[in-house]
């Protein structure tokens, strides 16, 4: 349903431009900062080296903070899953459920369109919005690297974005799935946001405390490479993230197609499993 896809994408244009340009500018200036702080100021490197290993591990993992990839990770890709993740989680949680709760979906679904078409059109528009945000950001990074004579190939610059996209996809699909199961879009956003932040802390702390490694296996951010992907993508992790995302999307689409529509703020677990009553 191209009309629904197009409308949703147009509705997101402010979000795409706002986030894309903001992060693109940040990326552009990051390369300036790298030149200033790390390559010319040796004392600052000594200061960083003096930080406890645990602290550096929490923020960066095992990457070399003074390499381009380590720097990009520390200054951008380490926290982007949280920053963009919160935006993505909130957009996915309200993608269909909010309109359902507000009642605007009733008239749309009374038109001759399949529920699954509505679901897939809106989901694809959101995914494309995320791709466009990352794309604009990537352009900022690319220009920054070019103007500062950074020795990064196009592929090297692109790989961390692919890794970021994969983890964002996972939280997007998880949030969408939760919005189909939980009673309201706000509760889905809340739970997904909590899982995102919990995952961030578990993965960060697991680098310091080995006892958390067991729990960390279930944390999506364990499979996120961030800046380290400059050196090469871990395809297994990538496929795992995309695979789980696809699974969540399929379940979410199935539930949306099969369950009762929510009306006027109504909602509850029973709507998902209404046939069992």
């Amino acid at each position: 349903m191209f009309a629904i896809f197009k409308r949703r994408l147009l509705k997101n244009w402010l979000m795409i431009l706002g986030w894309g340009l903001g992060l693109g500018l940040l990326g552009y200036y990051l390369f300036d900062i790298y030149e200033t702080f790390f390559q010319r100021d040796v004392n600052l490197m000594e200061v960083f080296n003096a930080f406890p290993d645990d602290l550096m591990a929490f923020f960066g993992g095992d990457v070399d903070l003074f390499s381009p990839s380590g720097f990009l990770h520390l200054e951008f890709f380490s926290y982007m899953p949280i920053v963009l993740g919160i935006m993505v989680v909130s957009a996915a949680a309200s993608l269909l459920s909010k309109d359902e709760e507000e009642g605007t979906l009733e008239l749309i679904l009374a038109q001759p369109i399949r529920r699954i078409s509505l679901f897939s059109s809106r989901t694809l528009a959101l995914i494309l919005s995320v791709v466009l945000i990352l794309g604009i950001t990537w352009i900022g990074f690319y220009l920054g690297a070019q103007f500062n004579d950074f020795d990064l190939s196009l592929a090297q610059l692109t790989r961390p974005f692919v890794s970021l996209f994969a983890v964002l996809m996972l939280f997007l699909s998880l949030s969408l799935l939760l919005s189909m199961i939980l009673p309201s879009s706000s509760s889905a956003g809340l739970v997904s946001g909590f899982l995102l932040i919990a995952s961030f802390f578990i993965s960060s702390l697991a680098r310091i405390d080995e006892k958390l490694e067991g729990v960390n296996r279930f944390s999506p951010l364990k499979y996120y490479q961030g800046g380290a992907a400059v050196e090469g993508l871990d395809l297994q992790n990538l496929l795992l993230l995309f695979g789980i995302s696809l699974f969540c999307l399929l379940i979410a689409g199935f539930l949306f197609a099969k369950r009762d529509l929510r009306f006027g703020g109504s909602g509850g677990f029973r709507l998902v499993f209404s046939k069992s009553e």
Binding site: M1, E106, L107, I108, A110, D260, L261, S274, K275, E277
Partner: protein, 303 residues
Amino acid sequence: MSNSVIKLENVHKYYGKVHALQGLNLEVEQGEVFGFLGPNGAGKTTTIRCMLDLIRPNSGKIEVFGIDPQHAPLAVKEKVGYLPGDLKLAGDFTPRDFFKHLRKLRNNRRDWNEILKLAKRLDLNLDSKIKTLSQGNKQKVGLIQCFISHVPLLMLDEPTLGLDPLMKQEVLNIIREQRENGTTVFFSSHILSEVQKVADRVGIIRKGSLVEIANTEDLIGRSLTRAMVQFDQEVSRSELEEIPSVEILRVNDNNRAYTLEVRGEMSGLIKTLANYPVLDLEINKPSLEEVFLKYYEEQEGSA
């Protein structure tokens, strides 16, 4: 062969522990205007939503044009124009954009000139943002998108909600025109005077099941009529008591003025009155509203 456009058999719908539809049976014939009456919470909107597969019944059988909405929702929606009772529209659209969007969803099968004509008729500004429109104007947007569907069945849930009296009249006129064009109209309302004006048949729903279904006129005619008679002379009470289906409610003026209640046909009363000098006769037919309230009182009493 059945000429039913809508057929519901023993439909049950639960919302958690609330039994919203309790074995609802209903049949609507092709080309008729069917008024679906009931107070808030009786199950009118739930019934319509089940027919459009927006929600699913827990059991029972629903057919719209012989199609099960759960198995072929698209085929049903292709043939139905719908106005939700609690109409909510995306506020960032203008009515013009909204109609264009809906046209695309219906593969551009809506006549744009007709949209302009109806907007003019209902006095709707097409270029204001929907979020700035009054409730009545939003309702007009909902009505226009429904009327220009060119479908054989319209489902209107409280179609005159929020409209001023002139617009209400105009909408009822449009419903009549739709019927003249052969469209079947199923509309729910609790404003009974409107139903009475346009509906060929009415169904009364109470607590999720149909308590009455009849031709509108029959339903009104079948019920009690009140007659006030002023005689020129005294008339014995027993004379009037002997008339079948007549009950004396009040006697005044030394047996010269009677207030009577007649159930069904008036012929018995008229024949008797012909034997006496009548100075004045006032007959009040009940409105559908009174009939409706009567049904509810009786049902509540027997519950």
